[in-house]
Amino acid sequence: MKSFSYVITDEVGIHARPAGILAKEAKTVDSKITLSANGKTAEATKLMAIMSMGVKKGMEVTVTAEGGDEDASIAKMEEFFKANL
């Protein structure tokens, strides 16, 4: 299992659109991606589950990759978070 932590800088937090793009992105990687923040956990491929975490600006999110090519998956996710959130 590989993971990283990231502090959200987007003004609105993980809002609908990036959550949607994240869900799409998470479906393209090899590993199962999980997000935890705000005391909740959700699979990254699930838009509504991600949104229901209510992640706001300044909160720390832990992203984990499990199974498959974890290194490549986590690198791709890290890149996504830095660019979009």
């Binding site: 659109r17 869900a23 799409k24 699930k46 509504m48 229901s52 209510g54």
Partner: protein, 539 residues
Amino acid sequence: MERYKGKSIFKGIAIGKIKFYFKGKQQVKREKVDNIEAEIQRYEQAKEKAVGQLNALYEKAVQEVGEASAAIFEVHTMMLDDDDYNDSVHNIITSQGVSAEYAVATTGDNFATMFSEMEDEYFKARAADIKDISERLITVLSGGASGSDIGEEPVIIVAEDLAPSETVQMDKDKLLAFVTELGSANSHTAILARTMNLPALIGVEIQESWNGKMAVVDGYSGTLIIEPDEDVLASMKARQEQDRATRELLSQLKGKEDVTLDGKQIKLYANIGSIKDVAMVLENDARGIGLFRSEFLYLEKEDYPTENEQFQVYKTVAENMAGRRVVIRTLDIGADKQVDYFKMAHEENPAMGYRAIRICLDRVEIFKTQLRALFRASAYGRISIMYPMIISVDEVRKIKTIVHQVKAELDAEGIAYGEVEQGVMIETPAAVMISDLLAEEVDFFSIGTNDLTQYTLAIDRQNSKLDSIYDSHHPAVLRMIQMVIENGHKGGAWVGICGELGADTTLTETFLKMGIDELSVSPTFVLPIRKIIRETNLN
């Protein structure tokens, strides 16, 4: 005539007939189905069709309101694709043997409830999106046509609530305003209203009996006026005309440089009295703030504002102005602005009394607190400091000594601060007469024409009996302004005007020809003045 209050989403005036908008409310009954496999197929086909509709809506919205606001329909497509949502629909159809309509309605309700129970306003407002996609699916499933016919004549739409897709489908040319009972300022319908420049009110207790009645939506005060009388109608029409003129100026002049025909760059800034006005400054596209009256920090408090309270306010303004110049005037109370906790003695002639810099140089601790806050904030933007009511070089030197101490203290504490320009208000005849000497001491002058006129003409502006002899264009005042500009330039200081005369469009050309470098005016005057600057030739 009746008035109803609501929360305004977009500042503007709309006048017209009300059209009561009834949602095609779909009552979904729990119906059993025999062929579960076929029902799931039916759902999948409906979903495909809904995605097609959303793509078309997205295209329409991109054309009409731009990509940023259209993104909502892209998000709706993503939501329709959500695994949990789809699993729930499939599961309800399969396990309960019910129709796809019922499964969608139940799933939609569950997800909407989940969002509406969240604490954060943004996420709470997403419940409306879930309802919107669910209703779209049900409409497709039940073969209903979606589309919102609002008739031929432009109307004010009154509805319990509006989904973004309903809003976008309405013919833009026939929409004057929205009034809804539900909805939030963060809802997409609210965002769309702002993008379309449509006055909109939410939180109004609506009545069906309004249908077809004449009404005014006043987005400035958040009021809906049903059957307005002649006077109200006339004043609202005038306001509407003013808005139209401003919008026209904006579309012509927003983003344009403040430069004369022969190429002189003018600093066109705005005056503000509190942090709330910054939005107006940005809306009207001023290139900086030429006068931030810091008094409000003191006037709205029961006790002296702390260094940190002040620092936060100055920092916020500097950051919001993102590198543009922000000239903050130090405390200017006394005269007509009194604060109880300063415990000042009664004066016979307060306009010429214990006020402004005179208080600051006497009660140095108050002054130092403000200066520390200002210098600390200067690390976050481009702050300039301006001192009011100056009459002598000695005062400026005293100020400089105190500034020096403040900087030394900050250095010793390791607190960062930026480059800060310092200037003085020229608002006394004394300052005008020694402006050559003052120019050697400071970076800039800002002429406060209100006080300068009152002191020069010896006319109390608050005495209405003297209105007939009060001449704001008096040659004595204009000559003083000319003198200050010349002396300022000789001493290497830039010169601006921040008093009311700066916004007097009949004098703009005169000031430009005198060589003025900066004009700082109320935000709403920025664009009219920009227009004149751009049409003036100095040669």
